[in-house]
Symmetry: C2
Subunit: 361 residues, 2 copies
């Protein structure tokens, strides 16, 4: 790939442009708002000028609702050899393009699985996609050349290509992202009118469950509007589980021993299925989940304490896989949980003890 | 408090005993399984011998279902001046004691809000309660002396006392712990039979939402069995939200523009209520949530990298409030997100840049 045209210079478009420029690709930038394209150009993401002839790849980074129209316009103008979009849903845009009667052999739908809280070209960075899955949805009709251009883009962005069917992709993101997002919001919504004394008792569990409920509703309305079917189906499944669980809990209140046993069995069922599902969530390396062992160190909240712990771990040759800092309620003291491979946990414990750290048994 | 009797030497009982012994209190240990009490004694948590006369405080740390009977037995034998239990629900045990016709002026129900994945005396540690809320549920009939004994225990364990009504406590833990736990399990349960390709797309969002679904079902059946009413009420509220959200998503699939707008409004409503609720979840210091700013550093997965980052932050006098390590999918590279007070974020960014770290914009 020597030349590219990025249409839509928001966070994703500008980030991809920056990555391509970094790899020596000549990038042209366009946006329905010329000011946005100028900003992206000023950031070094390419030139805000129309290319003179067709480029190798046109990357359409418009909001889901505008993707098909923007792609159709670009294809009719023949601006590129290959066309790719990066919208977070894939089935709808493809069907819209098909209904327009366009030849889609030069088109491939894609979805880079990364984003940030911020948006716009100023939030863009060439490493936005680094190590993240980037879904490609070729069909039997997709030109191999176009697939290869897409793979080259993914490689330049140092993302990990994942090939999927468009509708399978939409069901997958409904499962791993859209449905959990709405459920997290519903748990958080219960706190809206909760008493202050109750809220004080919140711990790490509810903090984790509700973290993503802090996201911008406008962006999420766009995402959910483009994928309502699969999300509704999954929420309906959750709802069925929920109703059964409410029944099981009501049975636990019964004075009838047999009913109570039945209730406990119902609760156990959902908890066990939760166990099985949770194990499937990939660990941070995207592989099968690695079971780490944790070493818990007591600290006070002074600068330098974490530095010393990590320096001491490093001196012992131990690689920390993950960290969780749990501070005490209303106090300036807390615990640092260091996650390490099970084989090195005793090494780390011994090394930190030797250097005077208090380790929880 | 000079003497105490701990009845039930599992994780909580033995941890409290260790904390009391550490403060010079003479602790007697008892368990329905004498082997457990012997183990606790061997760990330095006290003596596995009956006290000769009444102790100052009897601490009953039996499973919820056995709390009332164990307390009643201890009170009838007159083993202490004051009686306290540590069960994770408070309304049921109190009503059971009342139905036994006992004088409850010497009794106070309590609940230390801490625990671990592990159980039994071997998992115990004297700092288990450090900085955590410890709920006390005195009534108008509770002797002030007994309340003060309980406050002394909480202080010795370096926990933070929170006074609540027993039923308010049960509703509060249903809200901040029991309901989120079941909902997390239900989200995780959706992954049980998911396709591998879909599971590969999991990111930090679903990882956080489903983390607590990994817990031991047996322990949770006990907890939920003791508090089914408030949990069922909250789940029914979530279910109502869920059903409305499914309707809203179905409306988004409509060809009627007005219906689609109605659907979007419904989705926006639940997302916005989620925003409002999420903000109420206390930060790690238990106070109003502090908004930290994050500084994101690129690393590779070598030992010593984190140590260097923390050492460099420490050298700049910056206190890291929280850390999140996000590794790349299938690669040995990733990002470290350092959460700091907003005022020091530019200081940290500059200091790390100067020392050669790549900081995400």
């Amino acid at each position: 790939m020597r030349t590219a045209l990025v249409i839509g210079t928001g966070l994703i478009g500008t980030s991809a442009a920056l990555a391509l420029v970094g790899r020596g690709v000549v990038v042209h930038l366009a946006d329905h708002d010329p000011e946005q394209a100028r900003t992206a150009a000023a950031l070094g993401a390419g030139m805000d000028e129309e290319p003179r002839g067709p480029v190798d790849l046109a990357i359409v980074a418009a909001p889901p609702a505008h993707v098909a129209a923007t792609l159709a316009d670009a294809m009719r103008r023949g601006v590129a050899r290959g066309y790719l979009d990066v919208a977070s849903v894939k089935g709808g845009p493809r069907r819209e393009l098909e209904s327009l009667g366009l030849d889609l052999s030069a088109y491939i739908g894609s979805h880079p699985m990364s984003g940030r809280e911020k948006s716009g070209p100023l939030a863009a960075t060439g490493d936005l996609f680094e190590g993240r899955p980037w879904v490609l949805t070729p069909t039997r009709d997709t030109d191999t050349d176009v697939l290869n251009l897409a793979l080259e883009l993914v490689s330049h962005c140092r993302a990990v290509p994942v090939v999927m069917d468009a509708d399978a992709h939409d069901r997958a993101v409904a499962l791993v992202s859209h449905m959990p997002h709405l459920v997290s919001s519903m748990v958080a919504a219960r706190l809206e009118n909760a008493e202050e004394a109750a809220v004080r008792l919140c711990g790490q569990g509810i903090r984790d469950v509700t973290r993503i409920a802090a996201s911008d509703p406008r962006m999420w309305i766009d995402i959910l509007s483009a994928n309502p079917g699969p999300v509704a189906d999954l929420l309906a499944d959750v709802s069925a589980d929920l109703d059964e669980t409410v029944q099981a809990l009501r049975a636990l209140q019964s004075s009838d021993e047999a009913k109570r046993r039945e209730g406990a069995t119902g609760i156990e069922d959902v908890l066990r299925r939760g166990n099985v599902g949770q194990v499937r969530v990939p660990g941070k390396h995207g592989a099968a989940p690695t079971v780490y062992e944790s070493v818990v160190v007591l600290i006070n909240d002074q600068p330098g304490q974490l530095a010393r712990i990590f320096a001491d771990a490093g001196a012992a040759g131990v690689n920390i896989e993950d960290v969780r800092i749990e501070h005490a309620t209303g106090q300036q003291a807390g615990l640092v949980e260091l996650m390490v491979k099970p084989t090195v946990a005793p090494v780390l414990t011994a090394a930190l003890r030797e250097r005077g750290w208090a380790i929880r048994q």
